[in-house]
């Protein structure tokens, strides 16, 4: 194989944009969540549990977690692109990170609906 640096993958804009949009979603969620928490009459197990059983909180949390994992994927891939020079190793790490994030997503949903 020729030893030549190849560039020109023609992607990157969507990821860059997605990172910004997911950051906004996470910031808004954080504010809403803190507001919801502050509006609890008192913070004890009963109220805490009741709050997590609200569908709105659950679905908003799913949106937050999806944003978090997309954001994390783009960020971690950026780090690998900078520091991992071997393309084969980089691809293997990408696959591991994607698998881990998909597992985290499934696990998070299990937790959210298990409350």
């Amino acid at each position: 194989m020729v030893k030549r640096e190849v560039v020109g993958a023609h992607y990157g804009l969507r990821d860059w944009l997605a990172q910004r949009i997911t950051a906004i979603i996470m910031a808004v969620y954080t504010l809403l969540f803190l507001t919801a928490l502050a509006s609890l009459p008192q913070i004890d197990y009963g109220h805490w549990k009741a709050m997590w059983q609200l569908p709105l909180i659950r679905y908003m949390s799913v949106l937050f977690l999806v944003s978090l994992f997309i954001h994390a994927w783009i960020g971690v891939r950026n780090i690998f692109m900078d520091y991992i020079k071997d393309a084969g190793l980089r691809l293997a790490l990408y696959v591991l990170v994607i698998l881990a994030l998909v597992c985290y997503m499934a696990w998070s949903i299990q937790i959210l609906w298990g409350i």
Binding site: E5, V7, G8, A9, H10, Y11, G12, L13, R14, D15, W16, L17, N78, M81, D82, Y83
Partner: protein, 231 residues
């Protein structure tokens, strides 16, 4: 004046080392470059580049007390002694403060830094309105000293793939030029995870630019153009 200078002559030295100097300045020595020229009178084995000595040619870019800058426009009165001077970081050292800028210029050339216009040239010149010309301010002044690109960690890690702040500033300089007709090709050339999107807007380039330019803003404008083209 006390100086601590990075020395490396690959023909003689096994590895680079720092050499301390204490030199007597003349009253006319005002800029750091004057001190370096004075030093070379005492030690002519010391090698560095300089040419115009007034911040226009960009030859004497170096790392001064940890920050990239031009020795010729850095006042002696403003630097803390001992002044630690190293070559620009991230580029191969040829000797002492002289670095191999090939990679830097290769990236610069890769953005086609010239107006592409297929129309037959007019009698005199391609004119612009004053408003259109205004767009090029803050872009065309770059002297290609490489202070910005060699202060950028993304350029350190991927100098062969990431265009770097200097190259991207010039890329935008031609994207912003109303006389240029290759906007689409230029954006195609840059839409790449390495070439453009290694920039994470940490603004080291803005911090060090001796001409006070803002490559981060230019990179932001390129991204904005890509977004407009896509959505």
């Amino acid at each position: 004046m006390r100086l601590s200078i990075y020395r490396y002559n690959p023909d003689v030295d096994a590895k680079p080392y720092m050499q301390d100097y204490d030199i007597a300045l003349e009253p006319t020595d005002r800029m750091l470059l004057d001190a370096l020229i004075r030093l070379k009178e005492h030690d002519d084995s010391f090698a560095f580049r300089r040419s115009c000595r007034e911040g226009v040619c960009g030859s004497d870019a170096m790392n001064i007390n940890g920050k990239n800058g031009l020795a010729c426009i850095t006042k002696i009165a403003d630097v803390r002694e001992p002044v630690v001077i190293r070559p620009l970081p991230g580029l191969p050292v040829i000797r002492d403060l002289i670095v191999d800028m090939s990679q830097f210029f290769k990236q610069y050339h890769s953005v086609k830094p010239y107006v592409v216009n297929d129309d037959p040239p007019p009698e005199k010149e391609r004119l612009q309105s004053p408003e259109d010309r205004e767009e090029l301010n803050g872009l065309y002044e770059c002297i290609l000293c490489a202070c910005c690109s060699t202060a950028c960690p993304s350029f350190w890690w991927n100098p062969d793939k990431f265009v770097g702040p200097a190259g991207l500033l010039q890329a935008y300089r031609f994207l912003a030029d109303t006389r240029d007709q290759a906007t689409g090709e230029r954006l195609d050339n840059l839409e790449d995870p390495y070439r453009l999107f290694r920039c994470h807007s940490i603004m080291n380039c803005v911090d060090v630019c001796p001409k006070g330019l803002n490559p981060t803003r230019a990179i932001g404008k390129i991204k904005e153009m890509l977004v407009k083209r896509t959505v």
